[in-house]
């Protein structure tokens, strides 16, 4: 009753504040449903009862009761509750209650046609300048940037550690959407806009929850071709004939891999999707494929190790 998010088809929520949004979403839809369920039977009844065949002469005065005024009053109250009880406080938290910088992962995300450049500040915690080139690079003349790392299209985070994203764009307006984190913020050239959230679910937990047997039908492979399918194998798949690996756990199921599995006689694969970054604002020809992934590490050590690896 309180949280219909699954029932309404919303993506799995992996964030701290998501549940507030989901509950509010549910109540708004309850209101819609109730109004619809009041109107619809009345409407159908009128159409049936007052058909000219059944009711040859209309009643001049029509409805005299005040019920509709009460209904409208009810809508006013319900909307006021949604506004004051949910919308305003939730928005205030999202916009104003930023976590302590010292306790947060801080990254710059610089959007461009058609990639998400995620800049990590390195050990000094300070961001250096970036170049006006394409692809974007760390400006080596700025000492603050010596230990900065740019990872394109992957946002690494740590479970339960708040993250502050300073969002900007170098060309057109993009929109930084993380469906699983209930985050969406336009990236607007000329502005740097901070966004924060807390990932409450790690990627491994997410994959556990989302994994399922996927049929590799011809149709599935056709889809996979266009463009590469975005699922991860959740188990090793050795070739039944010899002992070579057709797919390993954690491997992305590209067309090539899917075809290999299919030809090896495997018609179902245990796989999971990823948490994704999607661009929600039309930004040009390849807008549709401006995709990134979010990897939430279980520990800070794992996170540090990945960044250290990327800085060479």
């Amino acid at each position: 009753m309180n949280d219909l998010s699954k029932w309404m088809g919303m993506p799995l929520d992996a964030s701290g504040h998501g549940v507030d949004i989901d509950i509010m979403m549910s109540w708004v839809h309850w209101l819609m449903l109730v109004l619809f369920l009041i109107w619809a039977p009345f409407f159908l009844y009128c159409l049936w009862r007052f058909n000219a065949k059944r009711h040859p002469r209309a009643i001049y005065t029509g409805v005299k009761s005040k019920i509709s005024s009460y209904l409208e009053g009810g809508v006013v109250i319900a909307e006021a509750v949604l506004l004051v009880g949910f919308a305003l406080p939730i928005w205030a938290t999202i916009k104003n209650d930023f976590p302590e910088e010292s306790e947060s992962t801080i990254v710059n995300v610089i959007a461009e046609q058609f990639a998400w450049n995620v800049v990590y500040p390195g050990a000094d915690g300070e961001f250096g300048l970036t170049t006006l080139t394409k692809p974007i690079q760390i400006d080596t003349s700025d000492p603050r940037g010596e230990d900065d790392v740019i990872i394109t299209n992957t946002l690494h985070l740590v479970k339960d550690r708040p993250v502050i994203v300073n969002l900007s764009s170098r060309d057109v307006i993009h929109s930084f959407a993380l469906p699983n984190m209930r985050v969406k913020q336009d990236a607007i050239p000329g502005l740097e806009i901070p966004v924060w959230f807390v990932p409450r679910m790690s990627t491994s937990e997410f994959r556990q929850q989302m994994a399922k047997e996927m049929p590799i039908s011809d149709d599935e492979r056709r889809r996979a071709q266009y463009p590469p399918y975005r699922w991860i194998a959740m188990r090793d798949y050795p070739d039944p004939a010899d002992s070579t690996m057709l797919a390993e756990e954690g491997q992305r199921l590209s067309t090539r891999v899917l075809t290999r599995l299919y030809e090896g006689g495997i018609t179902e694969v245990y796989a999971s999707p990823e948490m994704e970054i999607s661009c929600a604002q039309l930004c040009g020809g390849a807008h549709y494929s401006m995709r990134g992934t979010v990897i939430v590490h279980d520990t800070q050590e794992e996170f540090d190790a990945v960044l250290a690896e990327s800085s060479f």
Partner: protein, 581 residues
């Protein structure tokens, strides 16, 4: 008098009579036919897009496989054509022009030549828009919203789009002034404001919206033209880098300025899309329930309230641009407030049905269909109007579902209702009822087949304007299969328009002739005082006088169940209120 006219028409010649006409009825028909052709064309673009979404990359016969650039052109032009070249010209230019002077007992619009100019600006605006498909690299591809910087750095088609918009806006402004003056000045004897049909009221408020909301967009259009052609930077900040390296622009501008100017127009514009539709539905409902519109005055107050408030809700389209708490609180509050008069009008339409003696002809079916469909559209506006719930939904298919419910099975159904209702007025012949029923039921089912899945897709997070229909992302997995259902529904929708097109084209010549002027036994002046079809300039054989309100159906003590506005009656109980001496 009619003979007189045809004689002079003969001297006027074809061009003067049918192309450069100053008669509001001919101009209304010009608008209607042009707008319907544009609607069909915009629908065609949508079919191509739906094909692509259902089977990405599969070749379309004759056209080949779509490219992302083509897809974006089709999307931007579909939106622009449907809104600015289809629905508004049909709702305001055609129905408004044809019906308003007749309903208020006026001989014509106040400024017949301005009226003609308005149509010609519209026509050439449309030509420019269509021509933009043929310039190098094609038509505009930055969406009907044309957000800079993307729109600023797009190819030549965007410049054409802007010029086209300048012409269309000019046309709307001329039309709006004309409607305002006509309704204020040319009401016939006895036609006080509160005796005007609801349709006239709707056109009246719509004209105010057009007059006050369009100028900022026209100005914004010129600013964007200057950015593109003269090297200014109204909407371009400094430090932009594209694939070709740093952009050589002066910089210092703001992309958000465009969004404010655009939505300052475009929110009132959505009411321009819906108010005339409500007006038509009100007329058809009153006529076919054979009873007065319930809460006529209340509906008019709601309408006026909607008109005012529609100017202070625009930034609910921009919650996700980074809006803080104060401004967003303001726009959330105004948005919730504006939903109330919509609920009031909708309730009034529902309640009007109660106690009626309902005739289910084709016009009525469409009008009745409008009501719940508009209801779904309006209700789905709520989660979008509250900022936190807008986070997951903004720029997804949920938004697309929301506004299509309002505009497609909403406004377009109302427009169909209007066509079936006023066709006999215009031609003297009726549309075929059986074909009309087929048209209604097929359209009803197909429209829901297209738009209902959108709400679910949007909930799952699927963004709008995706060339591959969401295949890139895995979170769309559970809702991808809808894409083929929607494509099939779109084709079905096309098929069910064929009986209508056939009906519309042939009935003017071979349809059943109406036996009396007041074919629907209606109360408003266009039926009861003017002949069917109406005569040329002048409209009325004798100038009518109005004695009472517009919806005196089934008045107790009267044998006939309708009392035309131009015939004096004794209204039992409220003599003093409705009959003025």
């Amino acid at each position: 008098m009619a003979e007189d006219h045809s004689h002079s028409a003969h001297q006027e010649g074809f061009w003067r009579k049918y192309w450069f006409s100053t008669d509001h009825k001919v101009i209304g028909i010009q608008y209607g036919i042009t707008a319907m052709l544009f609607l069909l064309f915009g629908f065609g673009l949508m079919l191509l897009m739906r094909w692509q979404l259902a089977s990405p990359g599969v070749e379309i016969p004759l056209l080949g496989a779509l490219t992302p650039e083509m897809y974006n052109q089709f999307g931007a032009m579909h939106g622009t054509i449907m809104v600015f070249l289809g629905i508004v010209p049909l709702a305001v230019g055609a129905f408004g022009n044809y019906v308003v002077p007749l309903q208020i007992g006026a001989p014509d619009m106040a400024f017949p030549r301005l009226n003609m100019a308005s149509y010609h600006f519209y026509f050439w605006g449309g030509v420019v828009m269509l021509a933009s498909f043929f310039v190098p690299e094609g038509a505009a591809k930055a969406g009907w919203t044309s957000y800079p910087p993307l729109a600023n750095i797009e190819t030549m088609g965007q410049t054409m789009w802007l010029w086209g918009m300048v012409l269309l806006i000019t046309s709307s402004l001329l039309g709006a002034v004309n409607f305002l003056v006509t309704i204020i000045q040319l009401r016939t004897e006895g036609m006080t404001f509160f005796k005007m049909p609801f349709f006239v009221w709707a056109q009246f408020i719509t004209a105010f919206l057009l007059l006050l909301a369009f100028p900022p967009l026209e100005a914004a259009g010129f600013l964007q033209l200057a950015d593109r052609l003269l090297g200014t930077s109204f909407f371009m900040p400094s430090g932009l880098v594209t694939a070709d390296g740093p952009l050589e622009v002066a910089g210092g501008g703001s992309p958000l300025l465009w969004q404010h100017l655009f939505w300052f127009l475009a929110h009132p514009e959505v009411y321009v899309l819906i108010l005339p539709a409500m007006g038509i539905v009100a007329e058809v409902l009153a006529n076919n329930t054979r009873k007065p519109l319930w809460g006529y005055k209340l509906m008019i107050y709601s309408l006026i309230f909607l008109g005012f408030f529609s100017f202070i809700v625009w930034a609910h389209h921009m919650f996700i641009t980074g809006m803080g708490t104060t401004i967003s609180a303001f726009f959330q509050i105004t948005t919730m407030i504006i939903s109330i008069p919509s609920v009031v009008i909708l309730s009034a339409l529902f309640i009007t049905l109660f106690g009626g003696s309902i005739r289910f002809n084709a016009a009525m079916l469409f009008a009745v269909g409008f009501v719940p469909m508009f209801g779904i559209g309006g209700l789905t506006g709520l989660p979008l109007g509250l900022a936190p719930t807008d986070i997951p939904l903004h720029d997804t298919y949920y938004v697309i579902g929301h506004f299509h419910y309002v505009v497609a099975p909403g406004t377009i159904f109302a427009l169909f209702a209007g066509i079936y209702y006023w066709y006999p007025k215009v031609t003297g012949r009726t549309l075929n009822e059986t074909l009309g029923r087929i048209h209604f039921w097929g359209s009803m089912i197909a429209m829901n087949g297209i738009f209902l899945p959108m709400l679910h897709q949007g909930m799952a997070g699927m963004s709008r304007r995706l060339f591959d229909g969401g295949l890139t992302y895995s979170f769309t997995e559970g809702v991808l299969h809808y894409n083929s259902i929607m494509a099939v529904s779109a084709v079905v929708l096309l098929l069910f328009q064929l009986p209508f097109i056939y009906n519309f084209l042939t009935s003017a010549k071979w349809g059943k002739k109406v036996t009396k002027s007041n074919h629907w036994e209606a109360t408003t002046l266009e039926w009861s005082a003017a002949p069917t079809p109406p005569i040329g300039h002048g409209n009325f054989e004798t100038v009518p006088t109005v004695y009472h309100g517009p919806y005196e159906y089934s008045v107790p003590g009267h044998e006939l169940d309708y009392c035309p506005q131009g015939v004096p009656i004794q209204l039992p109980g409220h003599t003093d209120k409705t009959v003025e001496s």
